[in-house]
């Protein structure tokens, strides 16, 4: 039996815990499959212990685990490790990977897409051999896991180069917002998949696995760290913001049209009496925007990112994904002294669903966020990419030391 790893909160009523760290692990170019197998066993043993409150240097003195869960992903380069026993799965083929930033910084994330790397990004750390998604109820729990991981890897450094088989190459942290909004002030994650549909979208089935039956029961993680230009966003009047998003800013009600003055009109009756937000119980009929003929609304973000709202999510052509994003906020030296944005994390049976959403005309193809294609529109450069990658998340198998162990063990 093979099942999805922990850390994918797709079941009914499950919401991702408050804190995230995505850790990207680089394999020593000299390391072979056996060494990587040993290292992954140690890493996953450590993390399982932490999930039980066990800190290696504090034997017999457990700490609160705060619901720590971890998920192990394999990037395309993992299968280039000498002695790897499995070829790179089709789900991580070149068609299903993001492009690299230019050596001088910037550059398109995808040809045909509207997202680009930030001008100061010259290296994408989300292309390393492995990624670990750490989630927990407290920042301490995920931070402790990162530090304990570092200690483990540091302790494994050997040889002249003093490098371990696996080294931390990048860390991106994030958190859930209790207001269910994003940094641009609007509700986010409202139009996600219904829980009943999620596993069919996420889980790699026999028909999806193609020549890689060992991936059945697993999933694919697509990550993109998207910084938002708040300075630009807050220059826009509220009505323009709403037309770009496709929702009322205060209530989250989907827009159904524009009035005679071209101002956005939210869905009548939303939110229902006794509520103030679309996210509150009773507003379920308003989570997804209904059909419209309004050409401006058709270009809004919520519609472009889900163009076939009535299609069956299971079908790859529906391009539905299960989003499990985490916001981020980090101090930086340059004005205004911080950077904020979204860690987009999507789970789906193939990265193709996300990559096509980002490139297809009518969807988000050529569009940075919403509105008309092109960089000169009001949201033309709202988002920039700090890092992005696609990872296979192998299934959990009974008796296996870690998910995907058949690739190295």
């Amino acid at each position: 039996m093979s099942v999805l790893q922990d850390g994918i909160y797709h079941g009914p009523g499950r919401r991702p815990p408050g804190h995230l760290a995505l850790v990207f692990l680089r394999a020593d170019p000299e390391a072979d499959a056996a060494a990587v197998d040993d290292a992954l066993r140690e890493v996953t043993t450590l993390l399982r212990g932490l999930a039980d409150g066990v800190v290696p240097e504090l034997p017999g003195h457990p700490v609160p685990s705060a619901g720590l869960e971890f998920l192990l992903g394999f990037g395309p380069k993992a299968f280039d490790i000498a002695g790897a026993k499995l070829p790179c799965p089709a789900a991580l083929g070149p068609r299903l990977r993001f492009r690299s930033p230019r050596p001088t910084g910037g550059g398109p994330l995808l040809v045909g897409g509207g997202l680009s790397y930030a001008a100061d990004v010259t290296r994408n750390d989300a292309t390393e051999e492995f990624c670990l998604q750490l989630t927990a109820d407290t920042q301490l729990a995920v931070s402790r896991a990162v530090v304990e991981l570092w200690k483990l890897l540091r302790g494994a450094r050997t040889g002249d180069s003093r490098t371990a088989t696996l080294e931390i190459a990048g860390i991106h942290t994030g958190f859930q917002r209790d207001d269910r909004r994003s940094w641009i002030g609007f509700h986010d994650g409202v139009s996600n998949l219904e829980s009943a549909d999620r596993e069919r979208v996420i889980s790699i089935g026999a028909a999806d696995a193609g020549p890689d039956p060992w991936t059945i029961g697993g999933t694919c993680l697509v990550f993109a760290r998207l910084a938002v230009d708040l300075d630009q966003w807050h220059l826009l009047p509220r009505a323009q913001q709403e037309l770009l998003v496709g929702r009322d800013k205060l209530t989250g009600a989907p827009l159904t049209g524009r009035d005679a003055d071209g101002r956005p009109v939210p869905a009548a009756g939303c939110p229902v009496t006794g509520t103030t937000e679309v996210t509150q119980p009773g507003n379920e009929d308003f989570l997804e925007p209904g059909p419209t003929a309004d050409p401006v609304l058709l270009t809004s973000h919520v519609r472009r990112s889900n163009l076939t709202g009535t299609a069956d999510p299971d079908q790859s052509g529906s391009l539905r994904v299960f989003r499990q994003g985490y916001e981020f906020f980090e101090p930086v030296a340059a004005a205004p002294g911080f950077r904020a944005g979204l860690n987009f994390v999507g789970f789906q049976d193939s990265p193709e669903r996300v990559l096509r959403i980002l490139t297809q005309r009518g969807w988000l193809g050529g569009v940075n966020f919403g509105g008309q294609p092109g960089p000169d529109g009001p949201a033309g450069r709202l988002l920039t990419v700090r890092a992005a990658g696609t990872y296979l998340v192998p299934p959990v198998r009974d008796g296996a030391p870690y998910p995907g162990a058949e690739a190295f063990g």
């Binding site: 083929g93 059909p291 299971d314």
Partner: protein, 418 residues
């Protein structure tokens, strides 16, 4: 309501327009006894309707879910054999080849069509001269009558209208499951080559007007299931397509679930569903940005949308014209981090979104007695188990592999040449 010519592509006489509307009405009346619903009408109700595009991707879904994307590409690009077996998403294509300066036959451009065969049948029956005029505009040269009506027909005006319809069907459309044509011994596969070498209009039996009306009518009911609170919620794809044996296979394609579920969603909210004028299948979007030529965008003249006014086009020609020295395989398709030469049509129609435009009436409460409550599905439909995989796609794959293994006859041309 009288529908205009598909795509508003042609100025038709009132008489021809009447024939077209009679054909639409005839198909509707034939389906009405089984599928009629107060939530489907041929008459959109007044000024409150929303014209909404229903879209899906144009590449054949079946070979991909039966096997994989690479197989789907190979088989779908297998000339007219691939087209007749697999191009059933209301989108067909042909690859035009030409000889380069070194004598090699290479793909020159891809023709994509969503035009309904019944429209051409109507013209062939009632207006041969107009038909030939339209096809001349598409082809750039005037076709001979024999290319349209078969080698025995030097002048279609000498035939009765019904004889013209049968002759044209036998030569260029096939019977398309129309009973009068089946009764007249018209084969499923047309004998003539004009619409095989070129993609003039669709000819796959499932890409017809009757099928389009069928699937939207089929979907336009407030299909529901009971939720845990005893209320109604929209039924899912698996429930809707498991109502009758044989429908299950349709649920795995791009077209049928997209069309039916869009109609069902509207009906669930009390909206009437109809086809917006003009009734037709349209190329809604083409993501040309993923194709590069010499590192930049493909030249605009290489992307030619036609057979319809803006937003209502039914034809796409993609690639250099005959008098251009370049070839299709000089275009690169860029997906993700991969860049490959473009050699066929499958990679083109993967970037094409097609579909009709429907007119939705205003939402209104659905009386509980109107809900069509469906039984829970015993589980998701397993597309890979569909009979089409064993009955159609599998044998086609075997035939392709057998041909690939067969030694080429001396002097034979590569596949797909003309």
């Amino acid at each position: 309501m009288p529908f205009s010519a598909p795509g508003l592509a042609d100025d038709l006489t009132p008489d021809l327009l009447d024939h077209w509307n009679k054909e639409i009405d005839r198909q509707f009346r034939r389906l009405e006894p089984e599928l009629g619903s107060q939530y489907f009408t041929l008459e959109p109700d007044g000024p409150t309707v929303d014209r909404v595009a229903v879209t899906w991707f144009g590449n054949p879904a079946e070979p991909e879910f039966c096997f994989d994307a690479a197989t789907a590409c190979t088989l779908s690009d297998w000339g007219v054999r691939g087209r007749r077996a697999l191009h059933n998403e209301y989108c067909e294509y042909a690859v035009i080849s030409a000889t380069d300066t070194e004598g090699r036959i290479r793909p020159k451009r891809v023709q994509v069509t969503t035009e309904l065969p019944e429209y051409y049948l109507m013209l062939a029956e009632h207006a041969p001269a107009r038909l030939r005029e339209i096809l001349t505009g598409t082809l750039g040269t005037e076709p001979r009558w024999q290319e349209l009506y078969g080698p025995a027909v030097a002048d279609p005006q000498l035939l009765a209208p019904t004889q013209r319809r049968v002759a044209f069907a036998r030569h260029l459309t096939g019977h398309g499951q129309h009973t009068d044509l089946i009764d007249a011994d018209v084969p499923a596969e047309p004998a003539g080559s004009l619409n095989a070498v070129n993609a003039l209009f669709m000819a796959h039996p499932i890409n017809g007007l009757d099928d389009l009306i069928y699937i939207v009518m089929f979907g336009a009911k407030p299909y529901a299931r009971r939720n845990s609170a005893g209320g109604f919620e929209p039924a899912g794809r698996d429930q809707i397509f498991r109502q009758q044996p044989g429908l299950e296979a349709l649920s795995c394609r791009h077209a049928d679930p997209a069309a039916a579920l869009a109609a069902a969603d509207a009906a669930f909210h009390g909206r009437t569903v109809s086809f917006a004028d003009p009734l037709g299948m349209y190329i809604q979007q083409f993501t040309s940005e993923v194709f590069l030529f010499e590192g930049g965008p493909v030249p605009d003249p290489w992307i030619r949308l036609g057979r319809g006014q803006q937003g209502l086009t039914q034809r796409l020609e993609f690639g250099p014209a005959d008098d251009d020295p370049h070839f299709l395989d000089e275009i690169t398709v860029v997906e993700g981090d991969a860049e490959e030469p473009l050699t066929g049509g499958y990679e083109v129609v993967r970037q094409v979104q097609v579909g009709p435009i429907v007119a939705l009436g205003a939402p209104r409460p659905v009386p509980p007695r109107d809900f069509v409550v469906l039984a829970d599905s015993p589980g998701p439909v397993r597309c890979r188990d569909a009979r089409v995989c064993t009955d159609t796609v599998g044998p086609l794959k075997e035939a392709f592999e057998a041909e690939a293994l067969r030694p080429a006859a001396p002097g034979s041309r590569p596949r797909g040449g003309r």
